[in-house]
């Protein structure tokens, strides 16, 4: 296997790992938010954590989208 092919596999695995981590964090934060809904300080901290995770997730999507060409060449 070429070095490029190996790197691509490692990169794909890392991208998948990071995406899954963000998604799982969002789902776990939702459960945590329900748990602390009567505690304003904890609730605010978790909302900030969720916003940070969403920003990270959006940045990852953006990074992957940049790898896709704007349009396919029909010729």
């Amino acid at each position: 296997m070429s070095t490029d092919a190996r790197s691509a596999i490692v990169d794909r695995r890392k991208i998948k790992h990071d995406f899954m981590n963000d998604l799982n964090s969002l789902l776990m934060t939702l459960e945590a938010l329900q748990m602390v809904r009567e505690e304003p300080d904890e609730f605010a901290e978790l909302v900030a954590l969720m916003q940070s995770t969403i920003n990270s997730f959006v940045a990852r999507i953006d990074a992957v989208l940049k790898l896709i060409p704007d349009s396919a060449d029909p010729s």
């Binding site: 899954m20 998604l23 799982n24 964090s25 776990m28 934060t29 945590a32 748990m35 954590l49």
Partner: protein
């Protein structure tokens, strides 16, 4: 340093994702347990476990430097039960039957499944100590 109640279960968390560590700590503490330490990779987990004994380790599978399985292998030799947590649903087939993993959870982890896994680890650990 605040002394923890001796009745509290001492839990360690090893995960390379900072947000996951925060959430797992919150869940563990809400379950009434104490988080003794946190590690960012398997190597750090092994080092910390050697320095401070805990009752159970929550270990992420996919971590840099030393991965969760390798760290679990070392830590379990010291008689500490390890609950393996992974973000990849298909990884359970790889590790389900492997010793020394006491149990395996797939993210996202809920409070209920985390509680069951910690209790299972404690029961399993006590059984092994008693030679049952």
């Amino acid at each position: 340093m605040r002394a923890e109640s001796p009745s509290k279960v001492r839990v360690a968390i090893a995960d390379d994702d900072a947000t996951q560590r925060i959430l797992l700590q919150l869940f563990v503490e809400r379950l009434g347990h104490h988080v003794a330490w946190q590690a960012e990779n398997g190597r750090q987990a092994i080092s910390l476990c050697g320095a401070e004994r805990v009752d159970v380790v929550l270990m992420d599978l996919d971590m840099p430097e030393v991965d969760g399985l390798e760290a679990a292998d070392q830590i379990s030799e010291w008689g500490v039960p390890v609950v393996l947590i992974s973000g990849m649903p298909d990884s359970q087939y790889l590790v389900l039957e492997l010793e020394p993993i006491v149990s395996h959870l797939t993210k996202p982890v809920s409070m209920q499944t985390l509680n069951s896994a910690i209790l299972h680890a404690l029961v399993d650990s006590a059984r092994k100590r008693l030679g049952a």
